[in-house]
Amino acid sequence: MELKTIKTHAVPVRYIEAGKGTPLVYLHGAGGIQLGDPLLAKLAETHHVFAPLLPGYGDSEECANLRDMLDFTLHTADVIDALGLKDPILVGHSMGGMIAAEMAAIAPASISRLALICPAGLWLDDHPIPDLFAMLPYEMPQYLFHDVEAGTKIMTAGVELSDPEWLKGFLVMNARQMGMAGKILFPIPERGLSQRLYRIKAKTVIIWGDGDKLIPPAYAHAFKKAIAGAELVSIAEASHMVPIEKTNQVAAAISKLG
């Protein structure tokens, strides 16, 4: 697994590359993704995996010119072009799922296989999504993990709140990453996707932790209803971080696409 850089129209993009086989592009969620990610590792056993970082994530350059959903969508299409890929399997988790669904709706002829892992992008008044942007770090595990204790351990590894330099670094990272995510997720993670989902022609697998407390499973059914022929794979004992909590089951569901 390697971290590399590719030029695009908007900005140089950092991406993780791993494995061999059918090309697969993985779009990360608002929390970002790192080298060694267990799902990428699992997928890389059978696929040639590319996981581009959104500008501002990790050590990648920011891009003030990406402001709205269309900018994010076309930029990510540019990344796929720049990587020389044609119709890769497109996978997205949470915010990444929102972008992947937009890409498949805007250019249905370019995306024929789509996996959406508890994607953002819809809003149901009866099932309001908790405000991720108003959560303190210690409040997050209860929304993100089925096993809250284990999730807390994952999220607090390396945290040194009493060290001002660590704190400053954390705040900068958070501002870069969540500031970017906020452009399509704040204050409500909905940018009109529901009007466009009907355009998706891809074979689609929707994957959801059935205990998702951030984007509850009601949204899984809304996506399934809106995308013709979509298959829903519901995973027990998992919340929003299902790619970490049930890595093998998520990888198996994605592998239904080839």
């Binding site: 108003a134 400053k168 900068v172 958070n174 970017m180």
Partner: protein, 421 residues
């Protein structure tokens, strides 16, 4: 020196167990704590106090904008300022200010400030805050990382709406307007503008470049503000600004005056405690939406102005609040000394005097205000004699002002237009 009597307009009836039972005074504060009939009396009381202070020699009376906030029940400062314009004279109306990124389109601000300036005869001192993250992002839904870009565009639009005598098209990213041509236009050709800031270099430069006054509106007092204002003055020097007039900067300070230091504690400590314990009880998750502050600002190490001290204000005693400078309180002489330290230490020509604190009743507020106006303020007037004629950051009212309520009597009307008497 320019002294502005400033009122945040706090709700006075937050319960004793507010901190325990409620997570925030701001954004998602419980609406069941609000009583509109009580608010009727409170608004009128606060406007009375603003009007009262204008008779005591303060240079200005000040209002500001907050939303969904239990210590500031003033989502529209312009409404309050319009009321004050009619019942005051000579005093500047300091509206600090309108969060210009929140108005759609922002020509609304250009129009309303022009109206206030006309109604008051050129007494407006205007403010253009970016707005706190609580107001701008969490209450009004602006995308944090785009807020500043939208703010800058709004600023450009408002300035041009005031200055350009002809209709113009404005093709902004956030505002598309084919015919901008505001009526009315402001009285003042160079509207004095104050910009509340929280330590970002971008805001320092914005003020220096536009000859705006930089205001630090903190509740944590003048001692903690030293580094931030020093950063500003260093920047003024670094950028070769034409001068370092103290009127390029302003500061808000909680002030309580009594006959003696002991009397100040006896009279005011419960109200100061109400303010710091209940009014500033803001849920940490609302303090600073990621992307709202620039990376450069975070890297300077300046924490959010609304981030409370790590262990909160709750444990601070009256003595702590006084010693650490959060509050300047005591006898006129004590207050004078500390105000002098503040003014010289921060080099600020504009003082926003927070003389009403928390749930302070009007009689105590009037007492403290009058003592400050009569026994403190006159002794602080000539701190910067070399800049006494610097009027770039203050209003320039017209000479002969209209007198509200001066319609002719009905008999005079009848005589003039030939009706029956």
């Amino acid at each position: 020196m320019k002294f502005t009597w400033f009122n945040l307009m706090p709700w006075q009836d937050l319960p004793d167990d507010f901190r325990e039972k409620h997570r925030s005074v701001w954004v998602d504060i419980d609406s069941r704590l609000f009583d509109p009939v009580r608010a009727h009396h409170l608004y009128n009381e606060y406007m009375d106090l603003l009007e009262y202070s204008s008779t005591l020699g303060f240079d200005g009376i000040g209002v500001n904008e907050h939303h969904q906030n239990g210590y500031g029940i003033m989502p529209s400062p312009n409404i309050i300022a319009a009321g004050l314009a009619r019942r005051t004279k000579d005093t500047a109306l300091v509206v600090l200010g309108n969060s210009i990124a929140l108005y759609n389109p922002p020509v609304r601000v250009a129009e309303e400030f022009a109206m206030l300036d006309c109604i008051s005869g050129g007494r407006l001192v205007a403010g253009f805050p970016v707005g706190t993250s609580m107001d701008t992002n969490y209450c009004y839904g602006q995308i944090p990382a785009l807020t500043r870009e939208k703010y800058m565009e709004a600023h450009e639009l408002i300035k041009r709406a005031w200055d350009d005598p002809d209709p113009f098209a404005f093709n902004g990213r956030y505002n598309k307007l084919r015919h901008v041509n505001i009526w009315p236009r402001p009285v003042q050709k160079n509207m004095p503008i104050h910009i509340p800031g929280g330590g970002s270099v971008e805001t320092y430069d914005f003020c220096i470049d536009n000859t705006y006054s930089y205001s630090y509106l903190s509740f944590s007092g003048y001692i903690r503000a030293k580094a931030l204002l020093q950063g500003y003055w260093d920047r003024v020097a670094e950028r070769n600004a034409p001068d370092d007039s103290p009127y390029r900067a302003g500061f808000a300070q909680t002030i309580c005056v009594a006959d003696t230091d002991e009397e100040a504690e006896r009279l005011y400590s419960e109200h100061v405690s109400y303010f710091y314990n209940r009014c500033l009880h803001v849920y940490g998750g609302f303090a600073d939406a990621p992307g709202y502050r620039t990376i450069k600002t975070i890297q300077t190490g300046a924490l959010s102005q609304y981030a409370p001290p790590i262990d909160g204000y709750g444990h601070l005693t009256w003595k702590d609040l006084i010693e650490q400078g959060h509050v300047i309180a005591g006898s006129p002489e004590t207050v004078r000394q500390r105000m002098e330290e503040l003014i010289k230490g921060l080099r600020v020509g504009n003082i926003f005097c927070l003389m009403h604190v928390g749930n302070m009743p009007k009689d105590k507020c009037m007492y403290s205000t009058k003592l400050f106006a009569e026994k403190v303020m006159p002794k602080l007037r000539d701190m910067f004699p070399e800049y006494k004629d610097d009027n770039r950051f203050w209003c320039s009212p017209i000479g002969k002002q209209a007198v509200p309520g001066s319609l002719p009597t009905e008999q005079m009307v009848a005589a003039a237009v030939g009706g029956k008497d």
